[in-house]
């Protein structure tokens, strides 16, 4: 589904990714672990197509299409979603209005008719419950005045509404207390099925205890230095990252 081959990428002419290879199949959850600055977020950003991240070498295909040639919105329409590490506040843009615009863009892309406001609100009332957010958040501006935890729940709410094939969870656990973490992990777990894949980017194995990854990859200095299963994450928890550094 997602095939990353020998990706090298730079930000402001500094090489961050130095040859990443990764293949994600339908239904799999891959965890990418690493310290700050190891290139985890850069990987997420080049998959979603952020402007200032430049791919200098390698390829990424998604369902056989060259992902790097696609605009950010087209990647989203093709089924890729990112839960942001730092979701931006957009004053004046109503959360429900924005999310309906996003859902309608997707429905239209798939040749389906758009959802009307009433049906959408019915859908939303059901979805907000599953991430433990109050309905009032729907009528507020996108992430405006939201706490860190509320922002992350809002990200997951969007994921549950847009139903992407591939979800990238960029440090979704950071800044969350244990209850919020459980809510989010539960939301993700209920959403998992044989067609939906995940890339969970994280510092700690804490999130992974609740999410049960199929694969764990360790990223150091722009390269995947070791891959394994949840046991690798447990080892990292005990020993830290230094034993993997050359």
């Amino acid at each position: 589904m997602l095939i990353i081959k020998n990706i090298h990428a730079s930000v402001e002419e500094k090489e961050i990714l130095k040859g990443i290879n990764l293949s994600v199949e339908p239904g799999e959850l891959h965890a990418i672990m690493g310290r700050n600055g190891s290139g985890k977020s850069t990987l997420a950003n080049i998959i979603t197509g952020r402007d200032n991240f430049i791919v200098t070498k390698g390829s990424i295909t998604y369902n056989g299409n060259n992902l790097l040639d696609m605009a950010t919105e087209d990647r989203a329409l093709a089924g890729i979603f990112m839960s942001f590490q730092y979701p931006v506040a957009i004053p004046g843009v109503n959360n429900a209005y924005f999310l309906r615009a996003a859902l309608n863009a997707k429905l239209k892309h798939h040749g389906k008719s758009e959802i009307n406001a009433a049906d959408f609100m019915r859908l939303m009332r059901e979805k907000v419950k599953s991430v433990n957010l109050d309905e009032s958040y729907l009528s507020r501006a996108v992430n405006d005045g939201f706490s860190g935890g509320e922002k992350k729940r809002n990200e997951i709410l969007q994921m549950l509404t847009l139903e992407p094939e591939l979800s990238i969870l960029d440090e979704t656990d950071s800044g969350l207390d244990i209850d919020a973490l459980k809510t989010i992990a539960e939301g993700v777990n209920n959403f998992r099925n044989k067609n939906r894949s995940f890339l969970a980017i994280t510092h700690y194995q804490r999130l992974l205890q609740y999410m049960h990854p199929d694969y764990v990859h360790v990223l150091i200095d722009g390269k995947i230095v070791k891959s394994g299963d949840i046991e690798l994450a447990n080892q990292l928890e005990k020993k830290g990252y230094s034993w993997l550094e050359s």
Binding site: T72, E73, F84, P91, V93, F98, Q158, L162
Partner: protein
Amino acid sequence: MKQFQKQFDDLLAYWPNEDPELRQLRLKAFDQFKNMGLPTKQWEDWQFTDFSSLEKSNYRLSHTKDFPQLPIKIAEHIPDSNLIVIINGHYQSDLSDIPDSISVATGLDYLKSNKDLDHKNSNPFTALNTSMMNSGLSVTIDSNVILEKPIQVIYAMMDISDPIMNHPRFVFQIGYNSQATIIEHYIGSTDMPYFINPVSNIIINNNSVLNHFRIEEEGALASHIASSNYSLGSDTQLNTVSISSGSKLFRHNINLNFNDKGGNASLNGLSTIRNDQHHDQNIIINHSHNTCQSHQLFKYILSDSSSGVFNGKVVVQEGTKHTDADQKNKNLLLSPKAIMNSNPQLEIYSEDVKCSHGSTTGQIDLEALFYLQSRGISKAKAIELIINGFAKEIIEQINNQGVKTYINTKVTNWLESVLIDV
């Protein structure tokens, strides 16, 4: 200056039997205007705006032959409001609908009966207005009246064949313990250059509430130079929203005086401009009584080579207690050629104050744009959402549904037309 002198002489000749007091007022004001001259770059509060086009354009005063063919319907009529229509400077009784609960005086009647009203000529344009007042309107709302419907005053320019000018004088007077909504609405459906120089004096007596919405949709080549002078009694509430999108040259002076304790004023503005439009707003709020509040929020959205000026000043006089004042100016540049000059100022001579001011000018937030695109929303739609969101903070201040809907549609249409060109 020669052209203004000629027009002034013509006006005096046109009304030879005018009330002598009014005549004196005009003569004195015209002298003041001549002494001051038009503002130049050396005038601190006027330095970012070039007024030289006003002298070059040879505007003549509107007269009776400019009386228009009446349009059947005014498209800009906001539903559920009482309409007062002035076209090319001439009051249109057939199109107006004045409720019994208000008193309206128009034209020369107004000028005669109101000559003793505050005619401050603090700048050349108010002096010019006093000297050449050729149309006017006073709306008086009695004490203990709650007006249910807004009053919409439409001042329209249409079907003109040469560059004309008008110097309308408005007085909106609210009695004690009353509530009203007034929409002061300028429209221009002509490509001819023209010059409108209105002065509005707004007096709110004790315990009253006024919502004042000012909408400026002049023609593309118009010059609109306006002064709005507010005078607030004790325990009054004033909410203003000024929307400006028309005219090539726009300057609005807002002067607000708290004349007693407990006044509360919220002043908001949104300018949406493009091409080579220039919009300049100058606001002076004078806190000279205790426990008064003023809140300002002015936003500009600038496209193409347009330019904007925001000059805001809050003065808190010595010995004034419990003042709460804030002043914000936020600007969104949609083009690298657009320019904004912003200068919020506080002049505080008292210690018992809570004051803040701030100004931000920037382009579309690329983080927000990426976020929306990452959800599958096209770049064009994402830009539209962000700009609409920026404008919304002002539109939300409009507490009348009819006006809000009208402005929302106008802003959305403006945005669509601007974004098509991007």
